[in-house]
């Protein structure tokens, strides 16, 4: 009996140690960025492809001029409501005081400077697949943007989802750094995959998720309930979408569908940033979409 009690508590203790070890947030080592120099002009392109402004500008922000990343947009989810923080270069309420490596760790690994996990409402699981050089360029661009003194708000997320440590397990289960669409791809399709899977995080809206919020990778881009609110995000695999390559490029450029309706809801915001990319990048994303395996 005593033996059993001892071994049970040993097992529990081992479990706790394992949980503690597995869920420990690991930021990037300082050397990870050695030799990388940020180029803000290239970074602006990365910023547009990654759609940072769609989440981090205020709802009523001016559309002209450089974006003010004041935060404040709310993202309802099954786990609670997340509020986008201020990521402008303000020294106190923004991220102006963060080092490059702290910013890159946040964007690519979802780890904060204090060493805790971010919620995946921040799509770092996608950004983790980006080229380090691109993220360093992005960070140098962020530093050129206007400051906002609007303090970040707390999220409204209840127990147990508010335990950031548990997100370590989520990351182990669901963060995968390999490409979803493998196999033989042309150079253009590969560029499109990079833009779509790593930067533009199309899957965050278009791919269905399991009960724990992880992607159903075998139903990649097969459509899903809208993550923040009512409605559905459409299936964009050839199982449902028969648009031509030209139709897709036009949609990503002006927002017009083949029958001259326009992109609505959250996609309108996505199109606004895609429209700022070089034409060749929009064509590459269209090629990737055409290469998706059909999924219901």
């Amino acid at each position: 009996m005593r033996l059993l009690a001892v071994s049970t508590s040993a097992a529990v203790a081992a479990g706790v140690v394992l949980w503690w070890g597995l869920t420990r947030p690991a930021p990037l080592a300082a050397e990870a960025l050695a030799g990388l120099e940020g180029d803000p002009a290239r970074g602006e392109n990365v910023f547009n492809a990654a759609g940072c402004a769609s989440c981090h500008t205020a709802e009523d922000a001016e559309e002209d001029g450089p974006p003010v990343l004041a935060g404040g947009r709310r993202f309802p989810s099954p786990f609670g409501t997340f509020v986008a923080p201020n990521i402008s270069p303000h020294q106190v309420v923004g991220v102006g005081g963060w080092s490059d490596v702290e910013l890159v760790s946040a964007i690519m690994l979802g780890v904060s400077p204090e060493g805790s996990h971010y919620f995946p409402a921040f799509p770092y699981a996608s950004y983790g697949k980006a080229e380090m050089q691109d993220v360093v360029d992005l960070v140098s661009y962020l530093r050129t943007l206007p400051e906002s003194d609007r303090p970040s708000e707390a999220h409204e997320v209840g127990f147990p989802f508010n335990i950031r440590r548990n997100l370590g397990l989520w990351k182990i289960l669901f963060v995968q750094n390999d490409w979803v669409i493998g196999g033989e791809l042309s150079a253009e399709e590969e560029r499109g995959r990079y833009l779509a899977e790593a930067l533009a995080h199309c899957g965050e809206c278009h791919t269905p998720r399991n009960a724990l919020g992880g992607f159903e990778r075998d139903r990649w881009m097969a459509g899903a309930p809208f993550p923040a609110g009512d409605g559905r995000v459409p299936n964009i695999t050839p199982a449902e979408l028969s648009w031509s390559h030209g139709d897709l490029v036009e949609y990503f450029t002006s927002g017009f569908t083949p029958d001259f309706d326009t992109a609505g809801g959250a996609m309108a915001e996505v199109v606004r940033t895609l429209a700022k990319l070089p034409e060749a990048d929009r064509a590459a994303i269209a090629s990737y979409v055409k290469a998706l395996p059909p999924a219901e």
Binding site: F226, P234, E250, T253, F256, F260, T262, G264, G265, V271
Partner: protein, 156 residues
């Protein structure tokens, strides 16, 4: 058959559709008319979109004509379309969001944005395909700008 009878028939033909409309609920009619207005936009966008994509050869004159049509179509006063009771919460098939009725001034601004973008497109059509392409994108943003705030997203 008397002349009077023909007159009666003609009058009936003219007033018939109006009478049929009167018996219909005004909110339903407003919703249908909104759709027709939008379809007229879409019809005129066809050739413009074809040129923007390079599916058909760029032709400045045709482009200016259709851009001008869109500007004219957008210049009508939209206020009769916003009949109370025709939002998506009150009327089946309607995709007009209740936010319209809380922000009528801003809705009007969105219409004016479209007039401006379509007029700029008409002017750009004379300047060649490059200028046309950029101006076409702005028309897309003007249409989408209103849909984004005031139209229910697609359900399927």
């Amino acid at each position: 058959m008397t002349r009077a009878f023909y007159l009666f028939l003609a009058a009936a033909a003219l007033t018939g559709p109006a009478l049929a409309q009167d018996t219909e609920d005004p909110a339903t009619v407003a919703h249908e008319m909104r759709e027709r207005q939008m379809q007229l936009f879409a019809y005129n966008l066809g050739p413009l979109g074809g040129m923007a994509r390079g599916d058909i050869a760029f032709d400045g004159e045709t482009a200016a004509l259709h851009a001008g049509n869109i500007a004219s179509l957008a210049s009508v006063d939209f206020s009769p379309y916003w009949v109370e009771g025709s939002s998506n919460e009150e009327l089946e098939d309607s995709r007009a969001l209740p936010a319209i009725w809380e922000n009528l001034e801003d809705v009007e601004q969105k219409r004016l944005n479209l007039v401006e973008a379509a007029q700029a497109l008409e002017a750009a059509a004379g300047e060649g395909p490059e200028a046309f392409g950029a101006a076409f994108r702005n028309v897309g943003q003007a249409c989408g700008g209103c849909h984004e705030d005031y139209r229910e997203p697609d359900e399927d």
